[in-house]
Symmetry: C2
Subunit: 236 residues, 2 copies
């Protein structure tokens, strides 16, 4: 197909497609003449992926290019891809953190947490810094009760990550796996954030309705222990 059709099919305006081509997010089409090119299904897919990363994942154009670049160099294994994607994802911190008391404490807490949970993480994983930064901020603001939940957060995160790794591993082709890594790294963040907000409201509404005396032992709403597994997999 030509550019006009690509645009029509994906809903992305032509000037924007040109822009993405220029910026290297979208690989160039196959030239059939000096001013004609053919685009395939993979271009449409890539375009949709770009919009997903930018619109839903909130990535910058630059970060998206990096992430997508890792997708193209598959064959190096999921670990490699995951590492690179994660590195691309952490938005560059403009100001390197000031080396104050809170920062040092935060660094220690991160290490202790990793030890406590027995996590094996490379020392250069940028998520370490990210985590330390959040902890340092909470320390500076004196929000110690948030930090008391760290281990709980960690347990849940580990559970979820296990399910994610499992799901990715179940994929067969290398490309699919790499794409899965990106999905779980980028879009799951948005997913969890939204779910947490919904759950928060449910709980607050529940406690407020019960008289506002405190977070009472509300009947746990059927606990959803029987959630129909793939009932969500509506496979449209």
């Amino acid at each position: 197909m030509r550019m006009a059709e690509l645009s029509a099919r994906t809903g992305v305006p032509i000037p924007t497609i040109k822009f993405y081509l220029r910026e290297g997010l979208l690989p160039p089409g196959e030239r059939t003449s000096p001013n004609q090119a053919q685009y395939g299904e993979e271009h449409a897919r890539r375009l949709k992926l770009i919009r997903a990363l930018v619109d839903v994942g909130g990535l910058s154009i630059l970060a998206s290019r990096d992430v997508l670049g890792h997708l193209d160099s598959v064959g190096v294994g999921a670990l490699e891809t995951l590492g690179k994607v994660q590195y691309s994802l952490t938005r560059r911190r403009e100001r390197e953190p000031d080396d104050d008391e809170a920062w040092r404490t935060a660094g220690e807490q991160v290490q202790q947490l990793l030890d406590r949970h027995g996590w094996n993480v490379r020392p250069d994983n940028p998520a370490r810094t990210g985590l330390a930064e959040v902890i340092a901020t909470l320390l500076r603001l004196g929000q110690h009760d948030v930090l008391d939940l760290l281990d709980r957060y960690a347990d849940s995160a580990h559970e979820l990550a296990a399910a994610e790794v499992d799901a990715v591993w179940r994929r067969t082709s290398l490309e699919d796996r790499a794409e899965g890594v990106v999905m779980f790294a980028v879009l799951a963040d948005a997913l969890i954030a939204a779910l947490r907000r919904l759950a928060q409201e449910d709980l607050v509404v529940g406690t407020a309705v019960e008289g506002g005396a405190g977070p009472g032992e509300r009947a746990p709403a059927s606990t959803a222990d029987g959630h129909g597994g793939s009932a969500a997999a509506q496979q449209a």
Copy 2:
């Protein structure tokens, strides 16, 4: 204290403080004369909070102003504050979603999920739309196995939210509670994201090291033999 001291104490440059004042993020100091003002401890705290929201939480100046505005109008109860904060948090979607098949399916799935888990959420909660948007995107990209984990994500989210609500409720003063709401709404997102990335790497390293045959039942933790193992996980 005067502006210079406020700047020195918080590390925020004076022009930036002026900017925040202009934009209404920071309440003006107490005037002692037409060109002199006094700032108190609460201004320093507010400044640190602004930097936390902007730097760590990734909020825009505008969104931060809204969130902080809700902090000032305390006394209306945690539910009210939570709702307003959540509304301010969801970044305005520039393009309202195109009403295609995926979007409609996504809307249904959100409702089904809420029913399945028995969550009581107001219909105007913007997180509903946010969640639907992510689901629609995943549908359009054909990532159904991600959606299969929705219920698992929801369960974890609910657990965490319960702990969070509990923690907030434990706070005594109204101001502290409102601040807690903001903390858990904004910073916990970053916290969880970082922890998930760390857990992901741990699990991938673990499976890769064990021969790359699949996500095996790795001995839980205690692996912390140093990070040497991960370096070897270059698995071609």
